[in-house]
């Protein structure tokens, strides 16, 4: 049976569209003011027109098709839970500091205590930006590096076995996916997908 071709709509409701376009225009205008540093009327007017024009030009890129698991309705890139994201960032920065120190410790020891392995787990976000935040957060935190993200399946390279277990412990969610999941709303439980090709020793 031929699979029906998936129709993806890229159109937002008008109110949301206007709201997020305005948000982007404001961001861009603030960016312009910081870059230019001149508060004369001429520059402000040029800046506002530029911000407006860029918002219009880049409109095709600010709308994303949503994960089909979450209903398939499109969503704006700029329609993020900004406050929760901001509250999440200090914790991420602290994790980054800790991970850098541990990485420095690993690198500077004469006999490097590394035991690399690749793990996989699955997590779905209702908002696609969640994938970006989780992937970058994994890259920045202790001993883990996002290698691939495909359809919510994360392939992560870990330097040590302990870090692999901290990210995706058996039978429950790791700390990092749980926190990003809190930021971006409900998400499915993490599933450990067993390694299919070579690493036979880990379950």
């Amino acid at each position: 049976m031929a699979e029906p071709k998936k129709v993806i709509s890229f159109r937002l409701p008008l109110g949301a569209d206007l709201k997020y376009s305005l948000l982007l225009t404001l961001f861009l205008f603030a960016f312009w003011v910081v870059l230019s540093g001149r508060l004369e009327a001429r520059y402000l007017i040029i800046g506002f027109l530029t911000a407006l024009g860029v918002t219009v030009i880049t409109r095709p890129f600010s709308v994303l098709p949503r994960d089909s698991a979450a209903g398939g309705t499109p969503v704006s890139v700029w329609g993020l839970p900004w406050l929760r994201l901001l509250a999440f960032l200090p914790w991420l920065f602290w994790e980054l500091v800790k991970s850098s120190i541990s990485m420095a410790w690993v690198v500077l020891q004469p006999k490097m205590p590394i035991d690399p392995q690749v793990i996989r787990f699955e997590k779905h976000f209702p908002h696609p930006v969640g994938y970006l935040v989780l992937a970058n957060a994994i890259t920045l935190t202790p001993g883990t590096l996002t290698v691939d993200v495909q359809d919510g399946r994360f392939t992560v390279h870990c330097v040590q076995k302990a870090t692999a277990e901290s990210l995706a412990p058996a039978e429950r969610e790791g700390e990092m996916p749980r926190r990003v999941g809190l930021v971006f709303g409900a998400a499915r439980q993490v599933d450990l997908v067993p390694e299919d090709d070579d690493n036979g020793e880990e379950q």
């Binding site: 500091v97 690198v107 590394i114 992937a135 890259t139 920045l140 290698v147 691939d148 390279h157 690493n199």
Partner: protein, 102 residues
Amino acid sequence: MTYVAAALMLAGFFLLLVGTIGVLRLPDFFTRLHAVGKCDTLGMLLFIAGLMVYEGLSLTALKLLLIWIFLAIANPTATHIFSRAAYRAGLKPWTRGKEGAG
């Protein structure tokens, strides 16, 4: 305030150095990327934060903040893109069990 800036810059420099040493010493591509993704990102962020403190509250500090934000998004993304490209190109991660220590 100057001492805070100097301390931040020194910490950043130390982490950049650790990133460099890690890239030199670690055994394979993916572990090297670990050094890049963490130590280098944080090193650069700390360095720019130090310069922001050194500059004081001014327009230049705000522009430095822009660089800070750009690098905080772009650096992990670039690291991920490298690892993904290498993985797709068929580079196998080094493991301790198969090839032994060394």
